[in-house]
Symmetry: C2
């Protein structure tokens, strides 16, 4: 493979990554909107916001569906970050509502 051929192949793969990333981003925001809806229902029904058992189920769902190449530990860390960011979003939203 010449250097030029390698560069052309890399450019193409990176374009694909950028497309995949935008699809991931879209799903992150879709997930965030669902979490917001859940927060609204919990507020109206006076249910607890934090439910550790539900988080276990989230991990179980993705770990049982993982075919790799990402390891189980990597998938767990990735979804820990996702859950954490959703919690931050909920907190910011509740703080804003209280401030109004």
């Amino acid at each position: 493979m010449t250097n030029e051929e390698a560069q052309a192949a890399l450019d193409l793969l990176r374009k694909t990554i950028d497309e995949v990333d935008l699809r991931i981003l879209k799903l992150f925001n879709e997930r965030a909107r669902i979490v917001e809806k859940i927060g609204d229902i919990k507020k109206v029904a006076a249910l607890p916001i934090y439910e550790p058992r539900r988080e276990d189920m989230v991990f179980q769902n993705v770990l049982s569906g993982n075919g790799g190449p990402l390891s189980e530990a990597a998938v767990r860390r990735l979804f820990e970050r996702i859950i954490d960011e959703m919690r931050t979003l909920q907190r910011e939203r509740m703080a804003k509502e209280k401030g109004q």
Copy 2:
């Protein structure tokens, strides 16, 4: 909304989250496979594995495509985790190849 109605609505939304999560997981692994291909090309062409400028472009791509509700800071943290896990996967793969 009765407690039962709230619970039914939550169950439905959680089912949707589980589906979204499996789609996210699929894209994570798709991204990982592309990163593996990039690693292979870099190895053959003797190009540097780590390219900070490319990482800036990854962030630029997702930040310019973010419509929320997730904040810019949240999107950055999420993709930092993704990039980090891809790097870990590459490292593990290279260590395995050296060990063979």
